[in-house]
């Protein structure tokens, strides 16, 4: 079976991000035949303005992210929730690539994960992202959902390693389900 190449996008830019820790934990939890790698960063995207797009075109980092999404068999978001919704930085990245011809999320299998120190674990960001992904014609995996609530105690304080066994088990299940989902939605030719 051909390897599934899955791109992971972290919604937080800070170095100590819990969601970046989740992102780093994924390769070890992936089923056989799934390869995960981090997407090019959106940290240097300008704030979206159609006038930029129309005068100087799409910035190089925007094209780099879009190319990586297009080339991937699936995309996983690991993101915090900011103010009951999608972090502006991540939404700005989605807004940029949404304007490209050959819009990269179209037909793309997507899975969502979120970690937060609070009890809800970022559920609200996921339902907002699902909505945006729907508009972009992505196919978002339904279940299992990964909400890592009260996350501070679930990572090793020094190494940042995800050490909570329940969470690790759930993520394994989700990644396995995502492999099946990709095979159904967008089988490799």
């Amino acid at each position: 079976m051909a390897t599934l190449n899955v791109l992971t996008i972290c919604g937080s830019l800070r170095k100590g991000s819990y969601n970046a820790m989740v992102q780093r934990a994924l390769p070890a939890l992936a089923p056989e035949g799934m390869s995960l790698k981090p997407a090019p960063s959106f940290a240097d995207f300008p704030i979206y303005n159609a006038d930029i797009q129309n005068s100087t075109g799409f910035p190089a980092p925007v094209n780099a992210l879009a190319d990586a999404i297009r080339a991937a068999d699936g995309v996983i978001f690991c993101t915090p929730e900011y103010n009951f919704s999608t972090p502006g930085g991540l939404k700005n990245a989605i807004d940029w690539v949404s304007r490209l011809p050959n819009q990269p999320f179209a037909g793309k299998p997507v899975a969502l994960q979120s970690a937060s120190p609070g009890p809800v674990g970022g559920a609200r960001v996921q339902y907002d992202l699902r909505k945006s992904m729907m508009f972009l014609d992505a196919f978002t995996l339904n279940k299992p959902e990964i909400f890592i609530g009260n996350c501070a105690g679930k990572f090793d304080e020094k190494s940042g390693e995800l050490k909570d066994e329940t969470t690790r088990g759930l993520i394994k299940q989700q990644l396995a389900a995502f492999a099946v989902f990709i095979a159904r939605i967008a089988p490799k030719g």
Binding site: K91, N92, A93
Partner: protein, 191 residues
């Protein structure tokens, strides 16, 4: 500004020059009741993408402080925004995310009114409902009705001047702004 006049800042969610929402925002002062003075908020176009490490190392950028100060000083806020990908434009959300981290969080207890214009049949309503939810997290006080959702925007603004020419929309906005003045006065007990 006359005594007892409410100082209301208008935030536009789009940065492009030809934006229908910017055109709508420019229309508002002429439709506002006498008791309310409307002026644009400082722009958020120079805000960096939010990163806690920036906040933690070099503090809040000057542009973020300017925006927050304007919101704090205002008696009310009107947000006029397009919908991007069925939700809040990332740039506007980024601005809200920045100021939400401040100690004297500027949206707290602030009366806020929403408007949107869009080319389609839903007129940006999905953005409005999401923004309502997000502004709940910063303890803003959201105005209820009437809602201003300008659908099929291309037909309602003058093609050349971008002036709002749709009488039904104009009347509804007048009604909404009058309602917002009462609402804001009740919330802030000013006059």
């Amino acid at each position: 500004m006359a005594d007892n006049q409410l100082d209301v800042r208008v935030i536009c969610g789009s940065l492009r020059k030809g934006s229908y929402n910017a055109a709508l925002a420019r229309t508002l002062p002429s439709l506002a009741p006498a008791g309310m003075a409307l002026r644009p908020a400082p722009s958020f176009d120079k805000f960096p993408l939010y990163n806690f490490d920036i906040q933690h190392s070099t503090g809040f950028p000057a542009e973020v402080n300017a925006w927050a100060d304007a919101i704090r000083a205002a008696d009310g806020i009107i947000i006029v925004s397009p919908e991007y990908n069925w939700s809040i434009p990332g740039a506007l959300k980024n601005a809200i995310d920045w100021v939400s981290r401040m100690k004297d969080q500027p949206f707290k207890d602030k009366p806020v009114l929403l408007q949107s214009a869009a080319g389609g049949i839903l007129g940006g309503s999905r953005m409005q409902y999401h923004l309502r939810m997000s502004l709940t997290s910063v303890d803003a006080i959201m105005f209820g009705r009437p809602e201003v959702i300008v659908t099929f925007a291309a037909q309602k603004f003058d093609e050349k001047t971008l002036e709002l020419k749709d009488q039904a929309a104009i009347d509804l906005i007048k009604q909404q702004l009058a309602g917002f003045e009462k609402f804001a006065r009740r919330q802030i007990a000013k006059g």
